[in-house]
């Protein structure tokens, strides 16, 4: 467990840190909405620290449409996760740097565990927000269809009244997948190196 990482794998871990840095510059996920009246589409990007419209005024326009069915407005300030997610990612980058300087195999296990934990928690949290937005509707809303909920999908597309809502990973999301793959590769290669040397 305390075995040193190979030189190449050390640099791969440094790469992981660099890739994670990308999360500050690219959105994790995006939600795209299309409707007959919105052929050009409306959409929003979810970052680790903010939520933005695909177009300059998309967020405002999505909220305007959502108010007809009584959904809460999507406002950055209402989502506390944006406040601490940057620190969580910073912690992971720090972990990568420490692993680079102190290249031990167990550190890589820890890193992967951390990543999977944060990833799973993040997806669950995203689902929970979507669930709440889609289910907690203002009973006084102009359009009220009994039994209808407006929870967007986590991954894939879903028809919600006249709007088709699609949710997919953005560049940041793919970075996370890549980071997971790199960590798995490091572990497997370290492991096979270990067995080969035995």
């Amino acid at each position: 467990m305390l075995r040193q990482l190979s030189r190449r794998n050390r640099y791969l871990i440094l790469l992981v840190g660099l890739l994670l840095l990308g999360l500050y510059f690219a959105p994790l996920w995006f939600v795209q909405l299309t409707a007959p009246q919105y052929p050009e589409g409306l959409g929003m990007n979810l970052w680790i620290h903010k939520i933005t419209g695909l177009g300059q005024f998309d967020l405002q326009n999505i909220n305007l449409l959502n108010h007809y069915v009584g959904m809460d407005p999507i406002i950055e300030q209402a989502i506390p996760e944006f406040g601490y997610m940057p620190y969580v990612v910073a912690f992971m980058i720090l972990g990568a740097v420490v692993t680079f300087l102190y290249p031990r195999r167990f550190m890589v296990y820890l890193g992967l565990a951390n990543l999977l934990l944060v990833g799973t928690a993040g997806m669950w949290d995203f689902w929970r927000w979507e669930y709440n937005y889609g289910h907690h509707l203002n009973p006084g809303a102009p359009i009220s269809i009994p039994g209808m909920v407006y929870q967007p999908p986590l991954l894939g597309c879903k028809q919600l009244l006249n709007i088709e809502s699609c949710s997919w990973p953005h560049l940041g999301g793919y970075l996370l997948f890549l980071v997971t793959a790199v960590l798995l590769f490091v572990i497997v290669s370290e492991h096979s190196k270990g067995t080969a040397s035995k």
């Binding site: 300059q56 005024f57 405002q60 326009n61 305007l64 007809y68 102009p142 359009i143």
Partner: protein, 644 residues
Amino acid sequence: MRHTLFRWSLVLCIASAVVASVALTHCSKGGSNSNILASDAAKRVYVAPGQKDEFYWFMSGGYSGQVAVYAIPSGRLIKQIPVFSLFPEDGYGIEEETKDMLLTSHGYIPWGDAHHPEASMTKGVQDGRWLFINENNTPRIARIDLKSFSTAEIIEIPNTSGNHASPFSTENSEYLMSATRFSYPIPQKDVSVQDSEKGVLNGSISMIKVDPTSGRMSIALQILVPGYDYDISHCGKGPSHDWCFFSTYNTEQAHKMLEIEASKNDKDYILAFNWKKAEQCLADGKAKDFSGVYYTNFHPENKATIAEKHSGVKMITNPADCSGMMYYLPTPKSPHGADVDPSGEYIVGGGKLASLIPVHSFEKLQKAINDKSNYIKVVDGIPVLKYESTLAGEVQKPCLGPLHTEFDGLGYAYTSCFITSEVVKWKLGTWEVVDRIPVYYSIGHLSIAGGDSAKPIAKYLIALNKITKDRYLPVGPEVTQSAQLIDISGSKMKMLLDFPTIGEPHYAQGIPASLLAENSQKIFILAENENPYAVKNEKDARVERDGKTVHVYMTSIRSHFKPDVVEVKVGDTVYFHVTNLEQDYDIDHGFAVYGAPTSNILIMPGETKTMRYEATKEGIYPFYCTDFCSALHQEMQQYLRVTK
């Protein structure tokens, strides 16, 4: 006897049957103008649902005072731009922000007669920034912004009457030219028209400067010229960059029964005007301070119109004071068009009562003015040159009533012929007619995209006809005007489409969609709204009273106005300043108040507009959104309460 009568009637009958059948065959040939299969034509103009056209075509609305925008080749009307006439559809010229656009030195005028759209140009080619158009009746020129497709500025031209030869642009839109069609006393005064000596009624040429960055227009210089009727102009390009050309009629200077008295001379003139020379004479102090009151009305984006009254212009009162500036080129007979080919070498006169089309050569003109033996006489300091000295050639027997000429850039010219109702295609240089096509009926102007510029697009020609008669389902005595789309991409012209137009389109400008569509404005950015009455947040919606004046700072967004109920008193003057908080394309809101003696106002996303309302009687007056904006549009209704 009876027998003979019978035989004669039989002969007559047969004869008339033959005549009728010939006439019918002839008619059916003309009527279906079957030089192209209907299905082929349909394919050429069919723009499938969801697809877009290749060209914007800006057509003057004539006596509607507006500009109509058509999509070509489909011929669909896609916009009416209000310019010189008020427009209740969106409140232009009525609501507070734009009503001063229609101010003139004669007061507020709710109507105008729009004639010639002209595109702004760089190096003789349309640059897609602005469209200019003249008002003939109360002389004015408007500048339309081609991002917002709205009128940005109107300048009144003083010392001018019948602003017809206008607004023709120099090669880089340095200046717009403008001239009097109706000579009159300059400065204005009472004279005896019928008995007046020649010279009592004058003409004038105006140079309107266009600021190259802002587009703002100003009157740079005016020149007093003999009182002929200056009809149409076009400016030079390339070698003739420094020059503009104006056709004239009524060189007889008749002031009654012009249809007879003004058609006597065998030749009238085309005025060749060296505007660079005029610019130099102005700089040299040869222009005098001259009277003249006029307005400039500027509508900055999303603000109230700034209407300014000006007094005084610079005037060259005698063309002799600036020698080399002007020459008259004799041109048969009462010429209408004065059109310059893409190379800038040929100046084509449309001899409206002539049976030929005279073409002047710019090169020959340059030689002729340097040789005084070519001067026939001098009128008010303007030399009249020998016809032959500037003539490049004549198109013989092209048609009757040649009016206007446009070019395809491939060496051909297309001339509209009013009397014979046709378009004639002829070759520059050989002056041979190569093709002709009938149009329905009595064509005035014709238009090719860039057809008056240095770079025409030889694809479509639009015939702008004056008489419509039986082309559409009859709708009472007044019918629309008719335009016809003609394919000019091949060697033979092909008729593609008829479509009705608004008012009476005189000239038109076709501009490629690729030059304008990308820049077309979708919304006004609310954060950049500098209207002093704008409200950018619903929380700031309020009513402010200042004596008997009440300002309602109102917001509109799907699907309500704020404040909810507006309360005022009898005798109040109420200003509803409505800001549309939306930032979504095509989500306009309208605003109308029960009993308001104005129009509705239409407010674009991010825009503020103001309606003035006099509260005269107590009661409850509903107001509502007039532009269907959302699923809850019908619910967008509230109340104005007027109390004692």
